[in-house]
């Protein structure tokens, strides 16, 4: 099945309708990979607002398979008995493909079939499994959304302090947030978050580089500087339709300026939205920790800034 999918991608042909259960067409899936605190909620909110698009908010299917494959049992990849063993990779990727398409069709019947609608899948926290998902669904489109790792870590440091929006989120789920390293050992927290960035963005980039289908790299900083222009570039690169006036309205609706002031600031989900804000938020030692851990990705994605 995966081989067939590859042939279709190479020939730019479409999958025959009904190829998959539920009639969900893999080419109508647009994956947003990266990591948390890169603006993926903002980006997917803008895209989900446009007519003809639906939004799947963090299914975590990438985490489901990626965590075991890359982390917990990565040493067993050559073991024939291991369920995600490399010898049977094509087989289990086919199952992953069916898993995703069946699940998408069940949740978003309006996207399935010949309607020509698209599904935006916000999956930054499942990015560890991005290479597997894109190998299983080569016809899908991919947005690699990145942000300076120092700003990402600074944002997470703020989010995990006492009494912030992450605690509110857990409380809504009936749980109290346990004490965080962000309070007790902030430097250790920073190191952990930098490693997470490398894991998530590293694997998202691997998927992006290997993907032979339609794809686009988006920087949060560009999205902040020129939201409409960057959004138009995304639709153009992914060859997906939009009506420009409608896009402009959605961009305006979800602009930073339109977020109520009382919902913005330290400890809130909408914090600063300020590229380079890490200079105020991190200690020099913490910035050095991030640059040390994520140096390779930082130099590749932010070559000018990496001279700091």
């Amino acid at each position: 099945m995966i081989q067939d999918a590859w042939r279709k991608v190479r020939g730019r042909g479409e999958s025959p309708a009904g190829e998959e259960t539920g009639d969900m067409r893999p080419e109508n899936l647009v994956w947003v990979f990266g990591t948390a605190r890169t603006g993926s909620s903002w980006l997917s909110a803008i895209m989900g607002e446009i007519g003809g698009y639906s939004r799947w908010h963090e299914p975590l299917v990438g985490h489901l398979f990626g965590n075991l494959y890359y982390e917990r049992a990565g040493h067993r990849s050559e073991d024939e008995h291991f369920i995600l063993g490399d010898r049977y990779k094509e087989l289990w990727l086919s199952t992953v493909r069916r898993f995703v398409l069946d699940s998408a069709a069940a949740r978003f019947p309006e996207v399935a079939g010949k309607g020509g609608r698209y599904l935006i899948i916000k999956e930054p926290q499942g990015s560890i499994g991005a290479p597997l998902l894109m190998e299983a669904l080569p016809e899908s489109r991919i947005i690699l959304l990145v942000r300076d790792p120092r700003d990402v870590v600074a944002s997470n440091l703020d989010a995990h302090k006492k009494g912030t929006w992450t605690a509110d989120l857990m409380r809504k789920g009936g749980k109290e947030k346990p004490p965080s390293l962000a309070e007790s050992r902030p430097d250790a927290f920073v190191k952990g978050q930098a490693r997470r960035y490398v894991r998530d963005v590293g694997n998202a980039k691997k998927a992006y580089d290997a993907h032979r289908g339609l794809k686009v790299l988006v920087k949060y900083e560009d999205l902040r500087a020129d939201t409409l222009g960057t959004m138009k570039h995304i639709y153009s690169a992914l060859e997906i339709p939009m009506e420009e006036a409608e896009l402009a309205r959605s961009v305006e609706k979800h602009s930073w300026e339109n977020v109520p002031e009382e919902e913005k600031g330290e400890g809130k989900f909408h914090r600063k939205a300020k590229p380079g804000g890490w200079r105020e938020d991190l200690t020099p030692e913490q910035a050095e920790i991030v640059e040390g851990v994520a140096g390779s990705l930082l130099r590749e994605l932010y070559p000018v800034r990496s001279t700091a």
Binding site: Y88, F99, D102
Partner: protein, 327 residues
């Protein structure tokens, strides 16, 4: 030749389906819809011929699996870790409808889990395919955290809940993970971290492994309770005391036909006594095989730690002898 309970595979299938039909929609929801990979078509492994072994590491699952692999037409899937993929505890915080394993869409993803398992089994064990095909034991102690979902996706399969006194399990891990222990050596060879908490902070190590026991065996126990198909509890201690008798009881409960004389030979072949002496002892995979050796291996404080953490399971499976209780 004496045999015990020789039902045909199709007979077993009929009975299990009938039993499941009674429970379907009451406690477990509908059986996943058949798909091309549901194992019903000719050339596929019958799901009812799969026997899942859950519990935790160091409970004798390798020994049990080695014996289950021996009969003609039987094979063992050695630690696929499918249960770890679908470990519900990893996603405790994800309760929304968008989550891939959201309860609202359970019928969809249970079918996917079923396909995932059957596709994997059929690819690896094609010789067991067909209605008259053989049996596949799935040794999955390390994937016990996902036992509940697996058994829900595979209600026709049989299940073995393999348990051992948690104090002996922890003592065995402590030995395996110390410097020079088999687990430490294996991790070193695999390029993984070789340093061990067992050396640096044995009490913390004991606490962590007691927690893991509770998580793994607790999950397997709940799956066992919920499973309405064929199932059996096997205690390592019973397996050691009367291996042949326990194996016969296990196969009997699972309705799996095995020739008794052949089984006796298998038991003999894999007996503790037949393991070369050089392969046994401290720091080795085959260590003591002595129930209650924890009395020699753990400190008093460590014993208390394990007993406190695993109390619900310990009380159920290893009730304290009243004469041993402290005043």
């Amino acid at each position: 030749m004496p045999v015990f309970r020789y039902p045909t595979v199709s007979g077993v299938t009929r009975r299990v389906r009938a039993a499941l039909g009674l429970g379907a929609g009451v406690t477990r929801g509908a059986l996943p819809e058949p798909t091309s990979a549901d194992g019903r078509s000719a050339g596929s492994l019958a799901p009812e011929n799969m026997i899942w072994i859950f519990g935790t590491g160091r409970t004798g699952s390798t020994w049990l699996a080695a014996m289950m692999e021996e009969p003609e037409g039987h094979d063992v899937w050695f630690e696929p870790r499918v249960g770890t993929v679908f470990d519900p505890q990893r996603f405790q915080r994800q309760g929304g409808k968008h989550f891939i394993l959201a309860s609202q869409y359970k019928d969809v993803w249970l079918r996917s889990i079923r396909n995932f398992i059957l596709d994997g089994a059929n690819a690896r064990f094609p010789e067991l395919a067909g209605e008259d095909g053989g049996y596949l034991a799935v040794k999955e102690p390390g994937g016990s955290v996902g036992a509940g979902l697996i058994m829900e996706a595979m209600p026709e399969s049989g299940m073995v809940l393999l348990i051992r006194d948690p104090r002996d399990v922890v003592a065995s891990w402590l030995d395996a993970t110390r410097k020079g222990g088999w687990q430490t050596r294996r991790r070193g060879e695999g390029g993984r971290r070789a340093e061990s908490l067992a050396e640096t902070n044995p009490n913390a190590f004991v606490r962590r492994h007691a927690d893991a026991y509770l998580q793994h065996v607790g999950s397997a126990r709940r799956a066992y309770e919920a499973h309405e198909g064929r199932k059996v509890v096997v205690r390592y201690e019973d397996l050691r005391a009367d291996t042949l008798g326990t194996m016969k009881r296990m196969y009997g409960e699972l309705d799996v036909p095995v020739e008794e004389a052949r089984l006796a030979k298998v038991v003999e072949k894999h007996s503790w006594e037949n393991i070369p002496e050089v392969e046994k002892g401290q720091g080795k995979f085959y260590r003591k095989a002595t129930p209650e050796a924890w009395r020699e291996d753990l400190t008093r404080r460590q014993v208390k730690t394990v007993e406190r953490i695993t109390a619900p399971l310990l009380e159920e499976f290893y009730p304290t002898d009243p004469t041993e209780q402290e005043g």
